[in-house]
Symmetry: C2
Subunit: 242 residues, 2 copies
């Protein structure tokens, strides 16, 4: 029996999603620990993607297999009642054994938040406070060079992956009062890709580089051309589409 779960979490207290060998606290470790109690056996979960230390999620998805046949609602409650308060399963669905959370994902949506307003110590884990002016129009222009299918090799720190071509369907930049929201929608994202793009768009917004530079950075296929990276606490994995 295969279960698909949608999960939200506050990444602040965790060393990322993926289980670590050194016993560090991770989202996966917390969930698998709970599933071991419920299923009475070691139960591995398979996420649609990993998130790094400090990164949050509203719509992370994972699946797992177990012989335990439980109503979806009951499974959800059984897990949530045992999870720490900063992780919460939003939805449990029984799916076909052929379903795979990662391979079947059609697209993903990430959000990144920058706050230009006064520093708020109660919100600092949930957005990137940046206290300089950013030119949104320039950032939007720079973002337009990234839309579509490109080799995003310049925008990842992981050089072990062979295929670094991804299709970025949309990159919207919204500004409401002091809050800038970046919304990324693509068929997939390389490691650190969203944070590196935001880091470079900030360089454009503060006029350190010109929007059209993005084209050269892309075609360089080299991370040294995109040396900036925005901090993890502004990043949210919002949705996985199937």
């Amino acid at each position: 029996m295969r279960y698909k779960c949608t999960v939200a979490y506050d990444g602040s207290a965790y060393h990322g999603f993926q289980i670590q060998e050194n016993n560090l606290s991770t989202i996966q470790a917390q969930i698998e620990q709970v599933l071991k109690i419920i299923t009475k056996e070691d139960t591995r979960i398979y996420p649609a993607g990993r998130t790094d230390t400090g990164v949050h999620a509203y719509g992370q998805v994972f699946h797992f297999d177990t012989v335990i046949d439980m109503k979806e609602w009951n499974m959800k409650n059984a897990i949530n009642s045992r999870l720490p308060r900063d992780i919460a399963i939003q939805k449990v669905e029984k799916v076909a054994d052929s379903f795979h959370s990662r391979y079947d994902a059609k697209s993903k949506i990430y959000h990144y938040l920058i706050d230009l307003g006064p520093y708020d110590p109660l919100k600092q884990q949930y957005r990137y406070y940046y206290n300089h002016h950013l030119d949104i129009m320039l950032m939007r222009e720079a973002a337009s060079y990234l839309i579509g299918e490109h080799d995003f090799k310049s925008f990842t720190k992981n050089h072990q992956i062979t295929n670094t071509v991804r299709n970025l369907f949309q990159l919207d930049i919204l500004k409401e009062q002091n809050l800038i929201t970046f919304r990324f929608h693509g068929d997939g994202f390389l490691h650190n890709m969203v944070r590196i793009i935001v880091g470079m768009l900030i360089e454009v917004g503060r006029k350190k580089i010109k929007p059209e530079e993005m084209e050269h950075i892309l075609s360089a296929l080299n991370r040294t051309k995109a040396p900036k990276i925005a901090p993890p606490n502004g990043l949210y994995l919002s949705e996985i589409r199937y």
Copy 2:
């Protein structure tokens, strides 16, 4: 030289404001540690009031004395650059040596947040999630019995204090979508008073007790008549007025 400071903090990671003998992490301990570096001597701070474990503040006030004469803006930056990210000084003012953060406080404003909507693990440290219907009109009616000068002995767990008379100027209950905001304004508050009042107003809102019961609870002068207490994470010390 006396400095008055206004400070905001996320109380989630701390064992309350007040310094503890057992070396537990508290807001006061963090700030005094920083002031020791800046002033090069043990420097005690005097807050307008304490907050408990998990309680937040936007407008807590404290004062301290030092021979160091620094511009207000520089003192603020000197402290903030050394504080953990979840504590931030909002304002530093040089004041007369006769100023006392606690004795001179004319009134205090607290907020309490209840969220009736779906549980959000990213906001759970900043509001009380309560997933039952609450009748706001009944709660407002109950609150009206508490306005004015009363002996609030029933609404505190601290029985060592002799004078338990306080003047509650205002208690507003606002509802916007799923969020209920209680705003307390009074000349002073007993230990746990806000949380116990909210706990009892919830009993009224869910129709376990009638609004007019508040009068009897008040006049009983006995905490056993007000046994409920709302959790600390929904509580904010918002403002101290002088």
